[in-house]
């Protein structure tokens, strides 16, 4: 058995609100992620998915428990762990291409290298014609594709994605899913992908984590043993989907 690239051990996160209330966002969360795993996380809104990703990214700290990357505890963000945020995160005063090249700029690459790499990733998300445009000239879905290109251009070992395709139409979404799988297969990346769409999770994941809510934890770990590229018409696909939807329904009704 190889070493996991990311280990999450007994992770808990409690938020203290300004009114002195405590919110248990995550409690006793355990997960091991191996190199080249494609993990999808599904769970009801507010169950702590974004919180979990932020802790793995080193942006927030755990209240207790340990999250480590290649055996080292994660204490701050690093280039090795990239993230695509749920909300728009492009710098509005930079052109699309400069946004994609941002990580390389921080890494002090020369301008010509930066632009070359940025163009190739823009092509990949189908936006090379918008290189000189500003983010406000792009639709929400296009902005999200730029954010994905920006994260990939930095060549991280692990990519965290927080509902990256939420703003896309069904058709573009499916195209992007295929693209993402192609990148993943080509570059041997490890991906942790949060989604609301059960269909998307089954199409993409090696392993689906269904989260329980309030506080967030691992409810169920489901291995998806279907050959890729996956066929949505496959009966196993449908069975899996209804099984997961059942679990989610339990969690959602539990809240009320």
């Amino acid at each position: 058995m190889p070493e996991p690239i990311i280990t999450i051990n007994q992770l808990s996160k409690t938020y203290h609100t300004e009114r002195g209330k405590e919110i248990k966002a995550i409690e006793n969360f355990n997960l091991q992620i191996y190199v080249n795993n494609f993990i999808c996380i599904v769970g009801p809104s507010g169950c702590g998915k974004s919180t979990l990703l932020r802790i793995i990214a080193g942006l927030d700290s755990a209240s207790s428990g340990l999250v480590s990357f290649q055996g080292q505890p994660i204490s701050k963000p690093s280039r090795d762990i990239g993230m695509v945020f749920q909300e728009y995160s492009l710098l509005p005063w930079l052109t699309v291409i400069d946004n994609v090249a941002l990580g390389l700029e921080f890494a002090k690459q020369s301008r010509s290298v930066r632009l070359d790499v940025a163009v190739s990733f823009l092509k990949m998300v189908g936006l090379e014609d918008y290189a000189r445009a500003y983010p406000y000239e792009l639709s929400g879905g296009m902005q999200q594709r730029v954010a994905i290109a920006r994260a990939l251009a930095n060549n991280p070992q692990v990519l965290l994605m927080d509902e990256p395709f939420g703003a896309l139409d069904a058709h573009t979404r499916i195209l992007m899913q295929k693209e993402l799988l192609a990148i993943w297969e080509k570059n041997m990346k490890t991906i942790v992908f949060v989604t609301h769409s059960v269909d998307e999770a089954i199409y993409l994941a090696d392993t689906i984590i269904v989260m329980s809510s309030h506080p967030g934890g691992v409810k169920e770990v489901i291995k998806v043993n279907m050959a890729r590229p996956r066929d949505r018409a496959n009966p196993i696909y449908g069975q899996l989907a209804s099984q997961i939807l059942c679990m989610l329904e339990e969690e959602v009704t539990k809240v009320k």
């Binding site: 690093s78 909300e87 710098l91 005063w93 941002l102």
Partner: protein, 285 residues
Amino acid sequence: MNPWVRLMSKNVANICIMLILPLVFIIIWFYLAKSIDNTVILPSPAMVLQLLSHPSENLISMGSLTNNIFISLLRVLAGYILAVMLAIPLGILMGYYAKIFQLFNTFVGLFRPIPPLAWVPLVLAWFGISSFATLTGVERGILFIYLNNIKLSMVFIIFIGAFYPVLTSAIYGVKNVKKTLIDSARVLGASESDIFFKILIPAAKPSIVNGMRIGLGVAWMCLVSAEMLPGSLSGIGYLITHAYTIARTDVVIAGMISIGVVGALMDTLFRIFEEKKFKWQRLIR
């Protein structure tokens, strides 16, 4: 219709709308002046226009309008530049580091409600009539004339006026930077100085420049009070007060109009700059 013609006629219409109220104002002024018939109380628009149309002519043996405006501008710029140089770095640091904010906020806030004019007695006690010439040791020549006209007391009053708008806008510009922007830069491997120079400052720039524009307006407005200080023998503010003592109301009004026009001009230049540079901010969703 030809698009050029359409654009032109639209602009002409806009200009007409802008001119309605000033014209009405001048007409009322004209008739009031005529019925009062006392140039000390209200000189006619024509008299004032006569002064304004020869701005480089010597007035009441105090030099010309343009010359006095130029001296006033030098003073305002001296105080304003000092204020900007201090307020922007301080504001950025206060906006980003909570500890620095706590350290300075109460202290700086104590002085904020004090009107610049209330500083006058203290400022006179401190600086008297010493000027930039005293400070630099220049004692003759054309440079001396200009430096000697920039009294430290005036610069201080203008500094106080410009300081607060610039400081406040720098603080809030930095505080309001979307946290996701900083987070996304962090995960891309940004260092602390990258965050500062490539995220915080560009993101806060529109707010800072807006504060600079307001600060310049306030500085310009503090001018008359600053130029009423002892030791001042020139400047557009002094020209107005001096004209008042010799009952030349037409010069007073011409001076006031000059102050207004110069202030509006500076504001417009800033606005054009903001419009050009920060289009992203207006169009952001």
